[in-house]
Every structure is written in C-alpha cells, then in structure tokens.
Symmetry: C2
Subunit: 209 residues, 2 copies
Amino acid sequence: MDIISVAIVEDNHDIRSAMELLINGSEGYACIGAFNNAENALEKIPQLLPNVVLMDFNLPGMNGIECITRLKGEYPDMQFMMLTVYEDDDKIFMALEAGASGYILKKTSPGELLDAIRDLHEGGSPMSSQIARRVVAYFQKQAKPNPALEALTSREKEILDQLSKGFLYKEIAGNLFISIETVRRHVHNIYEKLHVRSRTDAVNKYFNR
Amino acid sequence: MDIISVAIVEDNHDIRSAMELLINGSEGYACIGAFNNAENALEKIPQLLPNVVLMDFNLPGMNGIECITRLKGEYPDMQFMMLTVYEDDDKIFMALEAGASGYILKKTSPGELLDAIRDLHEGGSPMSSQIARRVVAYFQKQAKPNPALEALTSREKEILDQLSKGFLYKEIAGNLFISIETVRRHVHNIYEKLHVRSRTDAVNKYFNR
DNA sequence: AATGTCATAACACCAAAATGTTATAAAAAG
DNA sequence: CTTTTTATAACATTTTGGTGTTATGACATT
C-alpha cells in the first residue's frame, strides 16, 4: 500500500487544519502542502507534485476552477478533487470541465473523505450518486436529437449529414451518385422542415445547438 | 419507507430467479415482474408500471438498450438500471444515452444491489467510481476546445463565433460595426489558420468536431 | 382510381461566400 | 527604430448556395 501525497487548497483555516490533521494522521496518506489561496498553490505545487489535490471552490483572488485548469494543463496526471458545499449543476460541470475527476461535498465524513482520496488516486471518480445523476442527465440531454429531425426522410437525413461534414453540393452529389440539382432539392426541403435559411443553421439544429 | 416495485429483464434463468428472490425477500422491495427477453418486457411492463427496471445488456432478440429506449420514451419517470458484466465505454454510453440512470456490474453484492435500487429510486445514479470516471472523462474530452483556435486573435474568435451562429457576412458587419470587406478579410485569415476552406468546416473546428 | 409522399432531375435568377490582390494606421514586439 | 501583428478597408472575379417553378416515375395509402 503506497502512500498518497495530498495537497490542500482551502481558505478557511479551521477546515484546512482539520483536513491536514486527518490526512497526516492516517496511515497511507501524507499531506505535503496546504495553501490558503490559489496563487500560493500555483507557485508551490509544481515543486511538491502531490498525487492528489483537494480544491475548494471559492477562494480569495483566483478561484479553484481556474487554479485546476492551470495545474491540469501542466500536470495532466495530477488528480483533482473538488471539495465544496455547492451541489448546483453549473459548479459541478465547471469543475469537471476544468479537469477535476472527483467532486464531493464538505459535509462528507472523514472516513469517506479518505476513501474518496484513495479511490481518486486509484483511477475512480468519487462522487455522490446525486451528483452522478446530474452528470448523467447532462449526458442524456445532449444525446437526444432535435425532434424536428424526425420529420426528415432518411434520404434527407443523409443529405443533412453530408452538409454537416462541410461537403460542397457537388461533392454530396458525387458521394451519393445523384445530380447536384437533386441535392439542391433535398436541401431546400430540409430547410423548410427545419425552418432555417442557411446551411449553418441547419447543421446547428442537426447537432442540437 | 415506501415499497419500491421492481421489474427484471434478464435471460439467464438462475440470475433472474436469484434476483427475484432477493428482492421479494427484502423489506421495502417487491419484484412485480421478471422477463427473459425484451419483447415480453415491452408487452407487460406498460401494465405493471414498476418504479425501477433492472435491465440486462445482452438479450436474445432485441437488446436491452433498445428496450430501454422504447420504454423510456413512453414512461420518462420509470428508472432503469443497467446490470451487466461489461465495463467498456461504448456500452456504458449507449446505456446512458438510451435513458438508463444507473449502471452497475452483475458481480455487485446482493446488499449493494438493493442499496443501488433504492438510491436510483430516490433520484441518484448509482454507479461504481470506475464507471463514473469513464463518464467524467468523456465529459472532459468534449469540453476542451481545439488548440488550433488558440492561434486566432480575439477579434477573429469573435468573428468565428458569429459565423457559427449562422449570421451572414453583412449581419456580422452590422453586429460588430465594421465593413463587410473587413469581415471577409478576417474570415479569410481564420480559414488559413484553421486550414479549412468553408464556413461549415470552420464551425466544426470551433465546436471540436 | 385517386391521392400523397419520396427521390429524382432540370433551368433560371439572384444572393452570398470564397479567392486574390492591394493598402493603411495603430499597436506590439524585437 | 524598424519589423510584425492586428484591425481596418476596397475591388474584381469565380464559385457556391438559396429560391422558385416545374416535372416524372415508384410506392404507399385511402
């Protein structure tokens, strides 16, 4: 069982100290750095190279998201756990996009926090199943295509797919072995059904944007 | 504590029976249907309206994904848990896109299965943190923009954003208070930097496709 | 048998986009 | 202080895209 090196970025002194104590007091874990703001963390973490960084969301000055973005860019293998009181979608997605792989709430018990750190280090993404549901919901939302596309015939969908890939009309005609005039015809019908007047708008609808 | 009604779709007789026994033998749970294929499930589940459906991936005839897609379309509040031996990305994403909210492995212990069912019923998305990591990774991958975009000046990014929204050159000129000739110039430079030769390709790069 | 939908095709017209060339002034970089 | 980058602008030419109209054969529905 190797020792997991951990750094903490958290502006509240009490919470920071408590976590530091917990981690250093537990076998298999070592807290090698604790910072009260993002700027200090950005300066020191490159020397410390911890396995796992626990990051608060709200920090004075630069916020935790920005801090993760910068560090993750330099050290892609470093693992980040967002540790926050917020459970709203925006914050969750911002953290994950920035490169956090774990997202747990501050109210999490000490034992669970340690488990989550180990889990993160071993390649998991610890998060409550409530938070997982938000992620899954986002996933599902952008998976389902625009219902307006259902009105298109299969040939029209095929044409639209070609349009979305940036082919010229004559290239589409060549690819599908039809005349360019037929392509025009289909495109016109597609535009009518989708209520758009340009290729870009049609493609945007195709990709649900 | 209300009773959670559960239906099982699983072709292996032993596993199906074992799960049925487990669920019916546990307080707070009731197995109100068990089917050995998707076709039977599709026929009976609309009458039973279970809270939760446990779905196997591989079934004879129609597969579990298709079965979820159809049921979820009709009964959006019904909760689906994928119960499988597979842990590969494709299968996970297919299940989630189809409308499954939980994804757990068959080797999960009886106690954990019951917990997962309750969790799912109460609005969570039970999944192992290994599986969560796959979902998060997918999320992160499509969040990071194409590095080629970094080569664009801020003005060019602004123009590209307008292009992506389907505005005509003259509309962009109006929106940004510049001449249409300048728009042309910028678009030309954008195309060069992104190595594309059409608006649609540029927009596709902009959206990382 | 009549009606509707779909995929195919042609022609004309105008609008819009892409290409090529040239140029100027401000700002940033060296 | 020169060089480079950036944002601005104009003009000519060619290619591509969008609209309107019309038409035909295959199939499916009524």
